[in-house]
Amino acid sequence: MTQVTAMVPVAEAVGSNRIVKACGIVYPVGDAALSPEEELELRRKLVREALAALAS
């Protein structure tokens, strides 16, 4: 399992061992400040990071 979270120290404290830093608390894999295309690209990037963590 990979945990995607903006609060990395909390994830570490509870023993999560594959962690990807999320974009924000209110949108872990998104960013409302970006255009829809940019946001989708950001989400692809974060999900790929999470997948890369799963495979390593």
């Binding site: 399992m1 945990q3 609060m7 061992n17 209110v26 998104g30 989708l40 692809r44 799963l54």
Partner: protein, 346 residues
């Protein structure tokens, strides 16, 4: 005694979750709970200033606000830094703990916070920061601020700090040698009798409940793997069929996504009461990224996106409860042949 007080946007009177991204601001004098605090601080003390920051801003810019707070506390020539009480608010507690730790190490003045035992800030900072047990909610405000004021002034006056149970702070995992009259065997017998009679007793060596989580092996081939999405951000189909609560959830749900290219706001709602839900409501893929994983399934980057996502509300949950739900979720996913999980947390 000059005191600087830290509050989140809620207790600082700025607003609720919709204001959680408020950047750090500084006010002269006491604000909100600071007024109650001033009444219980020793005579001649004053809250010279209050620092307020939104919970999300603090969690997302911890290093930046830590620098600002340390500089401000120094400028105000404080003798004591107090943060909270934060009760069960996790982001608030985490920020308060980080700020107290930074102030006391960088400026050499004492710092005290107040939190509920379950607050994630406790596990992160209890070893280095005195954290008064504030109880779970603001109904305990008066006792919580009194505890913080009492302990804070003791530290400023360099008085000896007693045991956690005497002073009302959360145990820091420190063992201190003491001379006692009874032998270990006698003390043990007294504790055992108390336990058998259902009476309170204090263990001399507390057991740390945090267990290490073994690291599962990596996924060998993602292009053949089934990936499931799980979230503690409380996304549920419209109508909330499993009645997920806003906090302290004992339940979780599994929701079918087999025919979906992505998630639409009109089909879902957010049960979680601990963050501003507007953005996820507008586009649930921001929490449960079905759109992107469906794309990756088509392109062959991943073998399969599992046909349901699992969801619960991760807000103020006791560890025991979370462990049980995690076990149940893992069992369901394993039985369905899922190889790997992406968990998104708010």
């Amino acid at each position: 005694m000059r005191v600087v007080h830290y509050l989140n946007q809620f207790f600082g009177g700025i607003g609720g979750e919709d204001k959680a991204d408020t950047p750090l601001e500084v006010r002269p004098g006491a604000v909100g709970p600071g007024r109650a605090l001033e009444q219980v601080l020793p005579e001649g003390s004053e809250i010279v200033g209050t620092i307020i920051c939104g919970d999300n801003f603090a969690a997302e810019h911890t290093e930046e606000i830590t620098r600002q707070v340390v500089r401000q506390v120094e400028e105000w020539k404080a003798d004591l830094f107090l943060a909270g009480p934060c009760f069960e608010a996790g982001r608030y507690g985490t920020a308060a703990g980080a700020l107290c730790a930074a102030v006391q190490t960088q400026l050499g003045i004492p710092a005290v916070s107040g939190m509920a035992v379950e607050n994630p800030g406790v596990d992160l900072y209890k070893h280095e920061v005195y954290i008064v047990d504030s109880g779970q909610n603001a109904a305990n405000m008066r006792e919580a601020v009194a505890g913080m004021a009492r302990l804070g002034s003791k530290l400023v006056n360099k008085e000896t700090v007693g045991r956690p149970s005497e002073e009302g702070y959360i145990p820091q995992g420190i063992l201190r040698s003491e001379f006692v009259e009874e032998t270990a065997a006698q003390r043990l017998a007294v504790m055992l009798l108390a336990k058998l009679n259902g009476e309170p007793f204090e263990a001399e060596v507390p057991i740390n409940p945090a267990e290490p989580v073994p690291m599962p092996p990596p996924v060998a081939d993602l292009s053949k793997a089934t990936v499931a999405l799980v979230t503690d951000g409380g996304l549920v189909p419209k109508g909330n069929p499993d009645k997920l609560p806003r906090a302290f959830s004992k339940v979780w749900g599994a929701y079918d996504i087999s025919n979906q290219e992505g998630l639409k706001g009109e089909d879902y709602e957010v049960a979680h009461g601990g963050y501003d839900n507007r953005y996820v409501q507008e586009d649930p893929n921001r929490l449960v990224p079905v759109d992107v994983l469906r794309e990756m399934e088509k392109s062959g980057e991943v073998g399969k996106l599992h046909n349901e996502f699992l969801s619960t509300t991760g807000n103020g949950n006791p560890l025991e409860n979370s462990r049980r739900m995690g076990r149940e979720m893992a069992e369901r996913l394993k039985a369905a042949g899922v190889d790997s999980v992406i968990l998104t947390s708010t």
